[in-house]
Amino acid sequence: MDTRGPIGREPRDAASDAPVVELTGITKRFGDLVANDRIELSLRRGEIHALLGENGAGKTTLMRILYGLTAPDAGEIRIDGRAVTIRSPKDAIAAGIGMVTQHFALVRPMTVAENLTLGRGRGVKLDLRRAEAAAREASERFGIRVRPDARVGDLSVGEQQRVEVLKALARDCRVLILDEPTAVLVPQEVDALFATLRRLAEGGMTVVFISHKLGEVLSITDRVTVLRRGRVAGTAETPDVGERTLAEMMVGRPTIGVTRRDKASRGRGVLRVDGLAAAGAHGLPALRDVSLEVAAGEIVGVAGVSGNGQTELVEVLSGTRRPTGGSIEVDGRRLGGRGVPEALGAGIGRIAEDRHASVVGDLSVAYNLVLERLDDFRRGGRLDQRAIRAHAQELIERFGIRARPDDPVRTLSGGNIQKVLLARVLSREPKVLVVSQPTRGLDVGATEYVRSQLLAQRARGAAILLVSEDLDELLTLADRLIVLYEGRVVGRLDVGEADPARLGLLMAGRDAEATSGAAA
């Protein structure tokens, strides 16, 4: 339609402060839930604008509306001062908007060049050689390194994200939306991404950065708009606000934050794992010679990029996956690899990664709370309904679960489901607690609650193994850390000597000493 270039255009001096994109009165309902409630947002040329908010605050919905993936119920979108209707991503792309969604919109069996040319160009014939040349040219122009002939499915997550960014840029976008782009990256990749974004913004690109991480928002963005429960809680120039103010705007009340105060009292070793090996999907080795020990009253964190054996480690310890070698001991008693009942009997409690798979959605809260210990609630061949209800009532109060005993679990929010799981596991006072991604997808309030419960268990004397992809969480809660890479323990450190840069190198499988100067 018109011939504007993506970046490096002549600055329009007079109009450069005029908003590129203006959203007014955007409203979107999903059933009873108002995801976006009369939202106002304006984006300037050449700024990095954060969209900050808790999970479910409506950030993603708002940007999906701008990118044509969701249709708004009401509201107006103006681009360069002109009202536009965006019915599909095709319209958005034509208006100069690009988006990198949280789940990458890439076709994995296809090459980078094929992904870049998808939906573009004219004519019948698909000229692969020209597509590869164009990909190479774009890659050089924007300084984003990718191999045009590589299959997307073979690339690392960080590389796939680069392809996504490049895809948007190659379509001459002027507004680039990134939805939680750092969630899947190791710290070094985050640095590289931020450098790219700064460079793009200097060239006149408008970048929208969706996040719920305060630190990132403060370090990279020029302005920030905070959303809370579908409404704009405020917009500010980033340098004018501090972490505390933003957190308050996000949550709507002052936050305390959970901190671990006392030093670990390093009791006797309760969980001892020695030379553990296990096979993962397709029978490939997922754990190789993993040894670790967790003492009573201690939290040992497991760091690593997802897919490096964490899932299998948790499954083996829970008894749902058979080890192929090595031994597991609880309190000096060796487990015989006989599955879940044995693990439960030995005093292992576990909170699995996928919380929706850990409950039976159609069963009531009360039944879900006793699923792991039905024997305790049996009278002859029948279940003692009254005891089950009383048990549920007690746990609902103790753990502040917002539900009634008879509500089906699937009607609960993620935070409340997690509370049900915590209640189910913790009510048995396990000696060993194996926890995986306990706060993923939870809002600030629920996250605080879960973390404080874990610390309470630590104070009680439980031995806790905490698997998390959230480095801040590990650094806040854990006493010691181990790093898994390709199924091996590649690092063991006290939390005092751990910093994100060093962890990042270990997680990327590079020896910290050897490459400490070459982080890029």
Partner: protein
């Protein structure tokens, strides 16, 4: 020698409807839709192709009718699975039952229940090279192997439409975000596929037999579904599978009348090509990567 040449000539002939069917099914499945309507679509193509040729006296109009019926059948499958998001297994089986039912109903209305066979003068065997034997085939066989199969491969792998079609079958979210109309692309794939299936069915009535009989397709549509998996959704491999099946099929037809084979029950011989397909599937069908969006309707969140 003549025996082998004879078998190979028959292989090409018998593989013709399978080539149409597998290519059509490959198009549907590469776009993410398992089209179990193939058996019924071939059946309807066979019947309406025959009926049109019978009534008008033009074989070309019969072919056209088969194409139109195939386009409509593909469109109906699209309505059920793409627009309404219905279960693909149920929709496909329903479509097959419906199309076979309609064909037999119209057959009875138009031609009566009597057993008198209605015949048309079918397409003759041609031999453009004048070599006899292997090159003496129906024109539709030439069209299938020299035009449709290479062209279908070229469109799927070397055109923008083909790239869009494959993307829609692998990751419709990605295709949508790239500005491709997922619905339109899937409809196009289903309708092109349906037209090819219709032509495959019409081969029986307009070329091979010159008449329509009940149960004329006899499960060849299902064979195509298996061959597409055998071919791992690649056109050439699927067609190679069709040739393999037809080779064993043609071989067993001739073995039956060979001296020394009278003792073998002919049912066993008849089952042979199907057994070969099952074994081939079992050997090559493990750990195959199905199209990413196989069986999944697409909805924007």
């Amino acid at each position: 020698m003549t025996f082998l040449l004879d078998v190979l000539t028959a292989t090409l002939r018998n593989a013709t409807p399978l080539a149409f069917g597998t290519v059509g099914e490959t198009y549907s499945e590469r776009a993410g839709v398992l089209n179990l309507g193939i058996e019924g679509t071939m059946y309807a193509g066979a019947f309406f192709g025959f009926a049109t040729a019978y009534w008008t006296g033009y074989l070309e109009l019969g072919l056209l009718a088969a194409v139109v019926v195939g386009l409509l059948a593909g469109g109906l499958m699209g309505l059920l699975t793409v627009t309404l998001g219905a279960n693909q297994h149920v929709s496909g089986l329903g479509l097959t039952l419906f199309l076979i039912g309609v064909s037999e109903f119209v057959n009875r209305l138009a031609f009566g229940a009597g057993q008198r066979l209605r015949k048309i003068e079918p397409y003759p065997v041609i031999d453009p090279l004048g070599l006899g034997g292997l090159t003496s085939q129906y024109a539709l066989t030439y069209v299938a192997f020299l035009l449709v199969v290479p062209l279908a491969w070229w469109i799927l792998m070397r055109t923008r439409f083909g790239l869009a079609l494959r993307a829609v079958g692998e990751n419709p979210e990605a295709a949508d975000a790239a500005g491709i109309n997922v619905f339109r692309t899937r409809y196009a794939a289903l309708m092109i596929g349906g037209a090819l299936m219709g032509l495959g069915g019409a081969f029986f009535t307009l070329a091979a037999l010159g008449t329509f009989t009940l149960d004329i397709i006899a499960g060849r549509g299902w064979v195509c579904v298996a061959l597409v998996i055998f071919g791992r959704w690649g056109i050439w491999r699927a067609v190679a599978g069709a040739l393999l099946f037809s080779f064993v099929y043609s071989l067993q037809l001739r073995l039956r009348i060979l001296p020394g084979w009278e003792g073998v029950p002919f049912e066993l011989l008849l089952a042979l090509p199907y057994l070969v397909v099952i074994v081939a599937l079992a050997l090559s069908g493990r750990n195959v990567a199905y199209p990413g969006a196989y069986l999944k309707p697409y909805r924007r969140a």
